[in-house]
């Protein structure tokens, strides 16, 4: 017999029929660091978009059962949300007054985004309204999404258009975007008007939107495109399969390992070269001892130093995507290789040049925690513009790294070791010295570029006071 006796039990087995919208005190959520400084107004709570199914990424508000100014009690259904699966009533966890509806009926919001504000009493309503305004003006966004982030979800929208109306496309040749490009633009809040199409006839492709959203084109098995163009080329470029070794155990790659393998093979198509540089680290070590109690790690110091150097040498932060042009990235996002159980992942410190080391350290801690729990979001591991790999802690004195696809350069950092050095006057002394080795794409980064970058980087490390600014 069927598992659920109810005649219509759309969600019988997975989700309770009525979802409760968790409401948390505004500003208390730690996910977006920049909001951490906001004054905590415990009496105003956000109602946010619940995850109604495991695959749901955004939900559409079908209707609001409560309107602004209504008093609601804990357990009342306040809103009907349409997920990828079904329409569901969503209840509130708290008593209060619906002060502001941030996402009106007919609009969509990503899971976890605030959709309304709940004030505990009449007095808090004006406060909540002020906050709603604040939210709609400066919705904190992922650093990766630049300009278009401004008109984010909370903007009061035009009157709800009928669901059937497709995204308007301007007439004429310009600005034509493919269906999936439009979907992605909506999902990642990218303004299509600001995206330059690279597809056939200047069309905006899904890849263009991903690039505009600061995402790396990740290996998409779903695309199946290899076979589309040339059926015979469908075979994944692979070394010839060697005969099995008798008695050996064969363990298939996990998805992550397969992705690493694919990226590594792809890197062979890039003409890479390497430049090494010795750097004295005594002052950096001193600084590290000072900031260590504040939770700053060596990784963050190195990432910060690299980001500051990249700011002066944008070409090293660029990438070559089509073999014909430089793509200069507007952000400096440092990906840092982290070994995790059964693989390797590169959490990204976004805007590493702009954030201070304490904030970066905080972000880094969160990222590592998520990485270990395999909960990183795609933009948290695929939006890097430059990669840092550090094996110094193992005593490795030098190594070279393989360039990840979509980036212009990667830095391999060895251990800092006491070394006898002679200064320009011929005096000997013992200093800590580490060797860094940068691998770069020679289509866009030339030897002198890399040398100049390393020189800047060495200067920052050797006189690290600027790192704390």
């Amino acid at each position: 017999m069927a598992t659920a006796p109810a005649p219509f039990s759309l969600s019988a087995s997975t989700v309770p029929a009525r979802l409760r919208a968790a409401a948390v005190p505004a500003g208390a959520r730690g996910r977006q660091p920049r909001r951490g400084r906001m004054v905590v107004r415990a009496k105003i709570r956000e109602i946010f978009m619940p995850a109604l199914s495991s695959t749901m990424t955004e939900g559409k508000i079908v209707s609001w059962a409560a309107s602004e100014g209504d008093r609601v009690n804990k357990g009342d259904a306040v809103v009907v949300v349409e997920s990828d699966k079904a329409d569901m009533d969503v209840e509130t966890f708290h008593d209060g007054i619906v002060a502001a509806v941030l996402v009106p009926a007919g609009e969509s919001a990503p899971v976890g985004a605030p959709i309304a504000l709940l004030a505990e009493s009449e007095e808090e309503v004006p406060l909540a309204l002020a906050k709603a305004k604040e939210l709609s003006n400066g919705q904190p966004q992922q650093a990766a999404a630049p300009a278009p982030a401004e008109d984010a979800l909370a903007t009061p929208p035009p009157p709800p258009t009928p669901a059937a109306a497709p995204a308007p496309v301007s007439a004429g040749t310009k600005g034509i975007a493919s269906p999936q490009a439009k979907n992605l633009a909506k999902q990642h809040r990218v303004d299509l008007a600001k995206v330059t199409g690279t597809g056939p006839y200047g069309r905006i492709t899904p890849e263009d939107v991903e690039a505009a959203a600061g995402m790396q084109p990740k290996p998409k098995p779903a695309a199946a495109s290899p076979a589309v163009a040339a059926p015979s080329a469908a075979a994944v470029p692979q070394a010839a399969v060697l005969p099995p070794v008798p008695g050996a155990t064969v363990v298939p790659f996990t998805t992550m390992q397969a992705a690493v393998s694919k990226n590594m093979v792809e890197s062979l198509a890039v003409p890479a070269f390497r430049v090494g540089y010795p750097i004295v680290t005594d002052k950096l070590d001193e600084l590290y001892e000072k900031v260590k109690p504040k939770g700053v790690t060596m990784t963050v110091l190195l990432a910060k130093a690299a980001a500051m150097a990249l700011a002066q040498h944008p070409v090293v932060n660029a990438s070559c995507r089509d073999g014909k042009s430089f793509t200069y990235n507007s952000n400096i996002n440092i990906a840092v290789a982290v070994a995790i159980d059964g693989g390797l992942i590169t959490p990204v410190l976004q805007d590493a040049d702009k954030l201070d080391i304490y904030l970066l350290s905080q972000n880094w801690k969160d990222l590592v925690k998520k990485a270990r729990a395999k909960q990183l979001q795609p933009n948290e591991y695929s939006s890097g513009t430059f990669t840092l790999s550090n094996l110094g802690m193992f005593g490795v004195d030098r190594f070279d790294a393989i360039l990840p696809p979509g980036q212009g350069a990667i830095m391999a950092v060895g251990a800092s070791k006491p070394t006898v050095v002679a200064d320009k006057d011929g005096f000997f002394s013992v200093k800590s010295k580490m060797l860094v080795n940068v691998t770069a794409d020679h289509r866009i980064v030339y030897g002198a570029d890399l040398a100049a970058f390393l020189q800047t980087f060495a200067k920052i490390i050797e006189d690290p006071e600027s790192l704390t600014l």
Partner: protein, 562 residues
């Protein structure tokens, strides 16, 4: 426009069923001909004794089809058109002991087998697997690891083509084995009970027949302003050859055909834009099913759409320009925008293929190309009188453009000409759309049922169940879907059943059989379903229904008087 789209998309199962299972049941040693047998000898049940009896009778009857048709006619029945409808009629006619000929003007199997439901099922079989393999989340939740599924377009196309040839030869063989005369050429009616056939323009051979069935089917309908080049702007005829998989394809029409092709193309990596003249996608479906279908089959895929617009002009890609589609508002006719895509599939329905039939010789005037018929498929002339001994079945009459409907109409006609009055209940004919997951339906939609109820003054109830409540569906990790039944709470009559979910097309027949046989909900709810199977989805519906009917409901163990 897409309301009339179904024929090409519907019924592979029926086609192949007709092609293989029946002949297998009665196909004996090669060379034996059964056509002239009288009907007592050819009961359809093929117990060993029956087969043995048939063989001995067959031997006695010698070359069956050689015997002259009764009453001085060359044949008892001549069928013009060898599609699924004509084939179904021919097989049943042989069973009824009629001397039968079938005139095929193109290829045996017609649209369904060669350019419709059959090859499209081959493509959909591929797209279903691709979709599953590409769904990382789905695979992971089953504990499977799959890396980078890919496909070889030509091999996929070959699979579809091979399937069509195989079914075509099955169909041909089944008719040959039964002794149906297959005549080649275009058939033209030259007078009462008189048909000429031969190459176009040379209808050299004239035959007489006691009864004639027109079963000439349909061709894709292409609205004016659309230029077909077969490469970048094409109909389902070309699309089924899968000569290319465009990056971006516009599908004009969101009925069965369009929807199935969107399933194929998106699974193979294309992006799709629907152009629909009506205000909503999938206008033919029950609204609730349509809404859920949009959530499952459209929104999460690489698809966008324009509704309430006509494609007034479509120009194939040439001179370095993409395919251009001009959209005008369906109501105001104002130009709205121009789409630039890589290809366009025209799936705006099908038009009857009735030209050159010589209908003018017998005073019959087609309506928008369709041959007018009455409830018994008898052709009506211009004055509204029945033309004796002339019938029209299938897409050519436009009653219900589905392959299996044509076949059912053909069987109904043969029943009548062999002396048993028969009217086909079209409300018991199921329809299916083979997307992933599938959609199927029989009978009335909820709005249709409520309208009928208002008019006739009865109550309507609706029960629903989710595939999430079905063990087998959950085991397959395919919990998306909904089944609903519309019924009369006073009598227990089933008015309609609509299913969206895993294997919906196979599940609908329990409901369509119940409607055809007049089985009531209060009776069928006692029938047992194996556990755990998808069929329990329907079991849930039957058991959930509340019938107020007074009187006794009989057990399923007793014979059901239909």
């Amino acid at each position: 426009m897409s309301l009339s789209a179904p024929s090409a998309a519907a019924a592979a199962a029926v086609a192949s069923g007709a092609a293989s299972s029946r002949p297998n049941a009665i196909r004996p040693a090669a060379g034996l001909r059964f056509c002239g047998l009288r009907r007592e000898a050819l009961g359809l049940r093929s117990s060993p004794q029956a087969v043995a009896a048939r063989r001995s009778v067959a031997a006695a009857a010698t070359a069956g089809n050689g015997a002259a048709g009764s009453g001085g006619f060359d044949y008892d029945l001549v069928i013009i058109g060898a599609g699924v409808g004509g084939h179904g009629a021919a097989l049943h006619a042989v069973e009824k002991g009629l001397k039968t000929a079938i005139i095929e003007g193109d290829v045996v199997g017609g649209t369904c087998v060669n350019r419709g439901c059959v090859p499209s099922k081959a493509l959909l079989a591929v797209s279903g697997r691709m979709r599953e393999l590409q769904d990382e989340h789905h695979m992971k939740s089953l504990g499977l690891q799959v890396s980078l599924p890919g496909y070889d377009r030509q091999a996929v196309a070959d699979h579809a083509n091979n399937l069509a040839s195989k079914i075509r030869s099955n169909l041909t063989n089944s008719m040959k084995a039964l002794g149906v005369d297959i005549l080649t050429g275009i058939g033209t009616i030259v007078g009462k009970q008189k048909v000429r056939y031969g190459k176009v323009g040379f209808p050299d051979n004239e035959i007489t027949a006691r009864n004639i069935i027109i079963a000439t089917g349909s061709i894709p309908f292409v609205p004016k302003g659309i230029e077909i080049d077969g490469k970048t702007v094409f109909t389902s005829d070309h699309a089924l050859k899968l000569e290319s998989v465009p990056d971006w394809i516009a599908i004009v029409g969101s009925g069965y055909i369009g929807l199935e092709f969107s399933d194929v193309y998106t699974a193979l990596g294309s992006e799709v834009t629907f152009v629909e003249a009506l205000d909503q996608l999938m206008p033919g479906f029950d609204p609730e099913i349509g809404k859920l279908a949009q959530r499952i089959l459209i929104n999460p895929r690489k698809i966008d759409y324009h509704t309430g617009v006509f494609a007034s002009k479509i120009t194939p890609a040439k001179d370095g320009k993409p395919v251009l589609i001009e959209l005008i508002d369906a109501k105001t006719k104002e130009h709205k925008e121009t789409l630039e895509v890589d290809a366009a599939l025209i799936a705006t329905g099908r038009a009857p293929f009735t030209k050159g039939l010589g209908l003018e010789n017998i005073n019959v005037v087609t309506q928008r190309g369709f041959v007018p018929v009455d409830d018994r498929m008898q052709v009506m002339d211009a004055d509204g009188n029945v033309v004796p001994n002339l019938y029209c079945i299938g897409d050519a009459n436009g009653k219900l453009m589905l392959a299996h409907a044509a076949s059912a109409q053909g069987i109904s006609v043969v029943e009548q000409i062999s002396g048993r009055d028969n009217i086909l209940n079209h409300l018991s004919i199921p329809a299916a759309c083979f997307t992933h997951p599938e959609i199927s339906m029989v009978g009335l939609t909820e709005p249709q049922a409520r309208e009928k109820a208002d008019k006739e003054g009865f109550e309507v109830s609706v029960v629903k169940t989710s595939f999430k409540a079905n063990t087998k569906a959950l085991a397959e990790n395919e919990g998306d879907g909904l089944a609903k039944m519309i019924y009369r709470p006073d009598t227990g009559e089933i008015l309609g059943v609509h299913i969206l979910g895993l294997h919906a097309a196979d599940l609908i027949h329990e409901a369509s059989n119940a409607i055809a046989l007049g089985t009531r909900v209060q009776d069928i709810k006692f029938a047992v379903h194996a556990h755990p199977t998808l069929s329990e989805v329907l079991d849930e519906l039957f058991k959930a229904a509340k019938v107020k009917a007074a009187g006794v409901s009989h057990s399923v163990n007793e014979p059901v008087a239909a």
